[in-house]
């Protein structure tokens, strides 16, 4: 799975990292991950007051602007319904560039392989990388390979670093978000996370589900064309899910996000699995969806453009920005109930009864 927050630039409230050791939760994309990045990494790299942490860093080199991002993939199992680690590694990084308002241009691939990995397994993933890169329209510009002792890694890990060219007229900045702006979601949530959970075979459950892994760049392109500067913010809700991405937005812009529960598209198989396991669909990982905040006057046109683009038919406006509850995400129901949905804490663990 791809990572959530990355090193870029802002972040007002100061976070300290006090934990004595690294736990699994620090990699799960939720609160603990954010603390690690903002509390331990950012102070060293960006000084006391770094800017907002976006999905990709924006650089200017010799006058030319470019977006850079990197992401590591350690998914298990390597192959699952709807995709594989190679496909994820391409799409994940491509999507981080896309939601940063950049057209993905090139990828550099790093492989960490466990001694004993079968060649046919590796070859299948290299093929998957090549195919997905071609589909996404990105070049593979280079790479590196390391092999570690058997037992020191789990089959294979992939890191992809992506370079992108900024889409003209789009400025992604959480600080530009205003009350009244609309929150748009590109399609149904939770498919990837639940597919992986089921594919691990630890649950005696089966579902007709596939990972949603895909490049979202064509959809982002359609959105940019329809709404241009009205696109204020985008994010691909990977680990930690929609709830974590929107909580980060709420914190970065100081506004509240109100979600209309009945508008959030979720496939029945995902809902069913979440009901059974006591999980919140808003916390489940996605690999082929993105969230966007749009200026209200352009929201309808943008939604229409997205729904008419291939693969965008299930896009919905799922909420809006309000002054309150500042810094939080509130989910409302048609019957007038509401609940706060926080970032994911730790890994999602099924409950018992």
């Amino acid at each position: 799975m791809s990572s959530g927050a990355k090193l870029g630039h802002i972040v007002p409230p100061k976070i300290r990292f006090r934990e004595p050791q690294i736990e699994m939760a620090h990699g799960a994309g939720g609160k603990a991950s954010r603390r690690l990045v903002e509390g331990l990494f950012a102070p060293f790299f960006f000084g006391e007051f770094p800017g907002p942490l976006g999905d990709a860093a924006q650089l200017k080199i010799n006058g030319a602007r470019m977006a850079v991002t990197t992401d590591s993939f350690v998914v298990k199992p390597l192959v699952f319904p709807g995709g594989s680690i190679g496909e994820l590694a391409v799409n994940g990084t491509v999507n981080d560039l896309a939601v940063s308002g950049a057209k993905p241009e090139a990828l550099v691939i790093t492989l960490i392989l466990e001694a004993g990995l079968r060649t046919d397994v590796l070859q299948a993933e290299i093929q998957a990388i090549a195919d997905s890169a071609q589909r996404a329209g990105v070049r593979i510009a280079g790479g590196d390979t390391k092999v570690v002792e058997h037992g020191k890694a789990d089959s294979m890990y992939i890191t992809t670093t992506g370079l992108g060219a900024p889409i003209p007229g789009i400025e992604i900045d959480p600080r530009s978000v205003r009350p009244g702006d609309k929150v748009l979601l590109s399609g149904p949530i939770g498919d990837h996370g639940i597919t992986i959970l089921l594919a691990r075979g630890e649950l005696d459950m089966e579902g007709d589900l596939r990972s949603d892994t895909r490049s979202v760049f064509p959809l982002v392109g359609a959105l940019a064309q329809a709404a241009g500067p009205g696109v204020r913010w985008m994010r691909d809700p990977t680990r930690g899910g929609v709830a974590t991405s929107l909580n980060e937005l709420a914190r970065d812009c100081g506004l509240g996000v109100i979600l209309f529960e009945d508008s959030i598209p979720v496939h029945d198989a995902v809902r069913g699995a979440c009901e059974l396991l006591g999980l919140e669909p808003l916390h489940i990982a996605n690999e082929g969806q993105f969230l966007s905040v749009l200026a209200p006057e352009l929201a309808d046109a943008a939604l229409k453009a997205l729904q008419e683009a291939p693969g965008g038919d299930e896009a919905r406006i799922i909420g809006e920005m309000r002054e309150q509850p500042a810094g939080s995400v509130l989910v409302t129901t048609l019957y007038g109930g509401s609940r706060i949905v926080d970032m994911l804490v730790g890994d999602p663990l099924p409950r018992i009864c």
Partner: protein, 376 residues
């Protein structure tokens, strides 16, 4: 989704809420306890307090098995699992519950072999796959999960699986309700009865609550409409001055319970003379132990268990919250020293714990609702 959507229908929910408003005497304050942690979770998750009139107060009960477990039990089990030849297996919601030196998950990060299982039979599979190791299943839960532990032990014996044992923490719901009713600082008008537990024990064991204590109790499902309908049924009884056991969750709960499950439990378990509950203290005959015939599969008989007793941190008021005397936010540690990420007590860990439910879904919302509805 069948059996879910029809119980979340906004129109029906609105109607039920109107019925509640009609039945509730505006001059009276109602204190209704939802015994089960699953209900507490549902109440917050569906934002049901927003649709109830302010004079209906829902008090969270002790029905969260993870929450009522004293820390010493976790320490005991982890001390057994410190042996590198032992695999500690437990349900997901045990994983973050703090012991004195950290949660099972933290022990795992330090190298202990800790596995999440989704049912006790998965723990048996684990034992078969790891023949050279011993798998200890940390069993927890009310009568809801006890039958599956019982069946698992029957299977272990029948199949002769000798590298498997159960560290049994199963508790029973009725003595806990009795302890709540015996508590002098509790004034309750009625009970929203546990749904899942009742699928096993049925409705008959609650009859003394109606007869002797004169409190109505309605066994209830876990969807928003179930909860509102149960409140309607409770208010209707209170209005007529009645105290009966009623079953709102008929689609799942048979009045007589599940005989096969009860039989399996009776074969495997016997009542402990007493058991310590977090917050409620020692309650007699409130927990289950594994019978002598199954001693080989009883981790407490098979291993040396230190019998650690740990007092809760002084400032933590888990006991008061568990009994419903305090609301989660009234605890001195709530949201400051104690959060879902750094829980002091188990109530902040389990999704069924009232503190976690309150923190996750309600906390921060309280002061904001007026401004939200004003701008909606």
């Amino acid at each position: 989704m069948k059996y879910v959507d029809e119980f979340r229908d906004p129109e029906l929910i609105t109607k039920a809420a109107e019925e509640i408003r009609r039945l509730a005497d505006p001059n009276r304050h109602y204190r209704l306890m939802e015994v089960c942690g699953g209900h507490t979770h549902a109440i917050y998750r569906f934002g049901l307090k927003d649709v109830l009139p302010p004079n209906i107060e829902l008090i969270h009960g002790p029905g969260c098995p993870v929450c009522v477990l004293p820390m010493g039990r976790i320490d005991d089990a982890l001390s057994v699992a410190a042996d590198p030849d032992v695999i500690f297996a437990a349900f997901g919601d045990m994983m973050r519950v703090p012991g004195t030196h950290g949660s099972p998950l933290e022990h795992k990060a330090r190298g202990m072999d800790v596995r999440i299982v989704y049912s006790p039979t998965d723990a048996i599979k684990l034992a078969k796959l790891n023949a050279q190791k011993h798998v200890m299943f940390f069993a927890i839960g009310f009568e809801t999960t006890a039958p599956s532990t019982a069946l698992t032990l029957q299977r272990a014996k029948a199949e002769g699986i000798h590298n498997f044992s159960v560290f049994c923490n199963h508790v029973t719901i009725i003595p806990a309700i009795r302890a709540i009713l015996d508590s002098p600082d509790m004034r309750l008008d009625g009970f929203i009865g546990p749904g899942h537990v009742s699928t096993v024990i049925g409705c008959r064991p609650y009859e003394w609550i109606a007869k002797n204590e004169r409190k109505p109790i309605v066994v209830c499902g876990f969807e928003p409409l179930d909860l509102l309908q149960s409140i309607v049924m409770l208010l209707a009884q209170l209005q007529k001055g009645e105290a009966k056991v009623e079953n709102q969750y008929k689609r799942v709960v048979p009045w007589e319970g599940n005989r096969a499950a009860l039989k399996a439990m009776a074969e495997i378990f016997q009542l402990r003379p007493y058991f310590e509950w977090r917050g409620l203290g020692f309650i007699s005959q409130s927990a289950l132990r594994i019978r002598e015939e199954y001693a080989e599969w009883d981790a407490e008989q098979r291993f040396h268990v230190p019998g650690i007793r740990v007092t809760d941190p002084k400032a933590a008021q888990c006991g008061e919250v568990l009994k419903g005397v305090l609301k989660p936010a009234q605890c001195k540690l709530f949201g400051r020293e104690c959060t879902p990420e750094n829980p002091v007590g188990a109530l902040m860990v389990s999704s069924e714990g009232s503190c976690a439910a309150y923190y996750n879904y309600e906390h921060r919302k309280a002061n904001l609702l007026t401004s939200i509805s004003a701008s909606a």
